[in-house]
Symmetry: C2
Subunit: 329 residues, 2 copies
């Protein structure tokens, strides 16, 4: 061995070790939530994740129980306008263009005549009726293609980019952070399941089998000589309010340790309550839409979600105060 090299070896080794250690420390200190402002809420998230994932901690949660569930509209992307609502209206209008006699029949008539009252009465029963009319009576494959075509061609009226580019950056970071800490991330949305599955993997890194949404009844039968899943015109599950914890049980069978929803219609209160009453540690996050400049500002009529959050100590996220940016540039 060369004498110079031999003498330099201990120094070289120390250097390598020093570099390795400093990169480990560097990696350790990288902020997993750079789009979140420093403050109580960011701190609470980081502390919670630390205590449930550190072995030996009193609040340690086994990796197989690390379930994180997110609502979609208003929690992971904007709901002004409700993206699926635009798709629904487009679909219905295309149906009427193809068969003009439909415009004399409800629920088509109410759409063409902009009779919003029809959709609001009886606890929004008209909207479900419309969804059934537009989403049913076709094969699963046809329906999926319609959704993909819509998502590719449409842009958000305010932000002028495709809807699929409007994931909330702080929430994308939060999901990636939880996933990195061994959490399985799920969506539990009132929206149609096929609609959300069309973008869940690309936008959020959530595979389609981890999406729970509203569904129509289906039949497995032969259509044009080929076995297919046929979409009936009957609702199987409207995954809203109290139906959310029920479907979480059917699909996951474990009570979520981390759960996130938003205020607008009280749709997430039941699933946040379900998580909150879990045996063992849990974290509830509720997004408050109060940023008209960067996103939207709107409140629930009865304020039920924010009241439930206050009563139960859930973490209310203010878009205005907790997020440095809302969307990635």
């Amino acid at each position: 061995m060369n004498l110079v090299l031999k003498r330099a070896l201990p120094l070289l080794l120390s250097l390598i070790i020093a570099i390795l250690f400093s990169s480990v420390n560097y990696l350790k200190n990288v902020d997993p939530l750079p789009s979140w402002k420093e403050g109580m809420n960011k701190k609470a998230i980081l502390l919670f994740v630390e205590k449930v994932t550190r072995e030996g901690s009193n609040d340690y949660v086994e990796p197989e129980d690390r379930i994180a569930v997110f609502d979609n509209d208003g929690t992971l992307w904007p709901e002004q306008p409700l993206v699926e609502g635009i798709f629904l209206l487009k679909t219905v209008k295309a149906m009427v263009a193809k068969d003009p006699s439909l415009k004399n029949k409800e629920p088509f008539k109410a759409v063409m005549e902009k009779d919003t009252g029809f959709f609001e009465k009886n606890n929004h029963k008209g909207i479900l009726q419309l969804a059934v009319a537009a989403y049913g009576n076709k094969t699963e494959g046809t329906f999926e293609k319609d959704i993909t075509t819509f998502l590719k061609s449409e842009k958000h009226p305010k932000f002028n980019v495709p809807y699929t580019e409007l994931g909330y950056q702080p929430m994308l970071e939060l999901m990636a952070f939880l996933k990195g800490k061994g959490f399985e991330t799920w969506i539990c949305s009132g929206g149609n399941v096929e609609f959300i599955r069309a973008f869940s993997d690309d936008m959020y890194g959530i595979p389609v089998q981890q999406v729970i949404g509203s569904t129509l009844k289906m039949d497995f039968k032969k259509v044009d000589g080929k076995h297919t899943l046929w979409r009936d015109t009957v609702i199987q599950s409207f995954n809203d309010k109290e139906e959310k914890p029920v479907n979480i049980c059917y699909h996951i069978g474990k009570v979520p340790v981390f759960i996130a929803g938003n205020e607008r219609s009280g749709g997430d209160i039941a699933m946040l309550t379900y998580s909150d009453e879990r045996k063992g540690p849990s974290f509830q996050l509720l997004i408050n839409h109060n940023d008209a400049a960067r996103e939207f500002s709107y409140q629930e009529k009865d304020n039920a979600s924010l009241q439930a959050a206050a009563a139960n100590g859930w973490n209310v996220i203010s878009i205005k105060d907790d997020w440095k940016i809302v969307f990635k540039k």
Copy 2:
């Protein structure tokens, strides 16, 4: 550096490298399916998995699409007797012991009087009626506890060990092999979902969120001052025959690449067909129970499953001829 060590170093290094290489080769040659006899079926499984997982192969399947689905009763453990059937009868008898007036009411009456005709008529409608009576009208937590207690206390009448020790060893190896090759393994069973979830992780390494089974409707409501999932006395889904592909779509949203069922009632034909008509490669496995000595021998009345297998080229597994052992000693 010590001179002897210095001279020995190249030799030592070669030795270490040789050992490392031979262990790699050794590991490569370990049989992943040691309980399967050499033959067409074992070869077909190994070849299929090789071709769908080797990058550059024409039949390569992306890791996220590697979904493997297994029926449970008669596919992963014996169905003679149907384990859940024993649980159901025990539950019903306990209910009658507690409230003797029930024995004059159907479906309890038929159980107490061993009126098997009641359960067979109308496409086994009586069995569903019994399941609803026994499984409903209680909290999800109570029901789960009843199942765990049953599984701990009961033994198989022929093999005299707890049911949970009766996983088919060749199928356990197959599931572990597929998992190791990047497949996500799921159960899709006609059995009650909570029943299977009670042992799926321990027995099969399948987490509860990857179990699809039959379900009752549930409500999320307050019981004794605490929010809870309440089991109604209405069937939500009887996950049999054509309902299996429908529920696979609700829960997974991808068509299974690998699927396994068994002959007895034709219950798996629809889901095997669904997989078979997948765009891209797929593998269908159907177990034929023909080993009265080591397990059981029974055939379907109309032979529909074996006929469908022959017509579609599915891989029929003969327990007698394809498996070296059925259960682990």
